[in-house]
Point group: C2
Chain length 213, copies 2
C-alpha cells in the first residue's frame, strides 16, 4: 500500500483487532479475464443540480453498449441503503464518502466500471476515496455549473428549501463546495449538452486506454 | 417491498431527508443478460473456525469454473475496509451485517453471485440481511461444527485468546451464537470434507435452479 493510501485508511481507526485477512482463490485478474476488462471508478463531483446523476446514467449507457460491466453508485440512492444512518454534517459526509470509496473498491475488484455520482464537496474526502484506488483506476470528473444555473434548474426543489432554511447545510448555499484542483475531466454543463459531455468522457477514457472502442 | 423487509429497513432510521431516487437506464436485467446469469447471495454463518471462509473460497472456485461472476465478502476482510469503524458489541455486529447486507444487495444488482462468510451470530440480524433480498436470491448456509472442534482447530489462535480474556465478546465462548432454524443448506464440517461440503452446495444450487451446470 502506498503511503498516502495508508494514511487515508488510518483516518478511520480500525476498531476490531485480532482480525485476519483471507485470500480467496479467485483473484481480481480472474474476474477481469472473465469480464474482458478491468474495473475502474468514474467519480462525478459537483453541486446539486449540476448534472452528476444525468451524466452518470448517460455514460453508463454508453459503456454498457460497448460491452462493459457497469454500476452506478448514486449518492442519493446510497442514502436510502448503505448510508441511511448518515446525515449532512461534515463528519457524516466524510463517512458517507469513506463507505462509497470502499464499495467502489469492491466493485473495481469485481472488474466493474463503477460510476459514482456524489456531491462530495470536500477535497480531502475525495482524496481519501482516490487513495483507496490503485494507480490510474480513478477518474475524477468535475461537473461544473454555476450555482445560479443549478438553482434555476432545481430539479428536486432543494435550492428553494435551502433558501427557506428547511434544508440545512446545503452545499453551495449554506455549506461549502471545494472544486477539484486537477480533475481528470472538467465538464461545463451550463455550456455543453449531455451528449457532448458523454463524448468528452468517452474520449478521455479512450485516449487514456481505459476503453478501446 | 414485503412487510418484513420494510420493517427491517426501518430498524436503522434514515437520517437524510429530501433525498430522491435516481433510476438508471441500465437495469439489473441488462446486467444479468450481459453476465448470462442473475446474482444471488450465499450466506455462510457459523462459529469462528467452523470453516466459513474455507467453504466460501472453495465454492467460489467451483462457481467461477462454471462461468459465474463471483465475489466473496469475508467478514474479516470487510472489517479492514468498509466496516473498520465497528467492533464486536451487539449494536456493532448488527450494523456490520446491515452494511454487508446492503453491499450484497448491490452485488446482486450487478448480477454477481456473492458469497458472504460472516459469523453473524444473531437470528434477527441474518433475517434483516435476508429481508433486503428479493425472494429466492438468498441462500443461508449453516456451517455447523461443535465449539469443541472449532476450539481444537483454532486456526487464528482466537479461542485461546478468548479463554484468556484477551478477546472479549467472542462468539461461542463469551458471546452467544443462535443457530439458524431453517437454513437452505446445513453442513456438518466436523463430519464432511471440504469437497463433500462444496458438492452439497452445488447440488442445492442445481436442484433449486440457481445454476444449470
Amino acid at each position: 500500500m502506498r503511503g498516502d493510501a495508508r494514511r487515508a485508511r488510518n483516518m478511520t481507526i480500525q476498531k476490531a483487532t485480532h482480525v485476519y485477512w483471507h485470500q480467496g482463490a479467485i483473484t481480481r485478474n480472474d474476474r477481469e479475464r472473465l469480464n474482458g476488462h478491468p474495473g475502474f471508478t468514474i467519480w462525478f463531483t459537483g453541486l446539486s443540480g449540476s448534472g452528476k446523476s444525468t451524466l452518470a446514467v448517460a455514460s453508463e449507457e454508453a459503456l454498457y453498449e460497448r460491452g462493459f460491466h457497469t454500476y452506478i453508485l448514486d449518492g442519493d440512492n446510497v442514502r436510502h441503503g448503505l448510508n441511511k444512518d448518515l446525515g449532512f454534517s461534515p463528519t457524516d459526509r466524510e463517512e458517507n464518502i469513506r463507505r462509497l470509496g470502499e464499495v467502489a473498491k469492491i466493485l473495481r475488484d469485481c472488474a466493474i466500471v463503477n460510476l459514482v455520482a456524489f456531491i462530495s464537496p470536500y477535497r480531502k474526502d475525495r482524496r481519501m476515496a482516490r487513495s483507496l484506488s490503485e494507480d490510474g483506476s480513478f477518474v475524477e470528473v468535475f461537473v461544473d455549473c454555476p450555482v445560479e444555473v443549478c438553482e434555476k434548474r432545481d430539479p428536486k426543489g432543494a435550492y428553494q428549501k435551502a433558501r427557506q432554511g428547511i434544508i440545512k447545510s446545503f452545499t453551495g448555499i449554506s455549506a461549502p463546495y471545494e472544486p477539484p484542483e486537477k480533475p481528470e475531466i472538467h465538464l461545463r454543463t451550463d455550456q455543453l449538452s449531455v451528449g457532448e459531455c458523454v463524448h468528452q468522457v468517452m474520449s478521455y477514457l479512450k485516449t487514456n486506454q481505459y476503453i478501446s472502442c
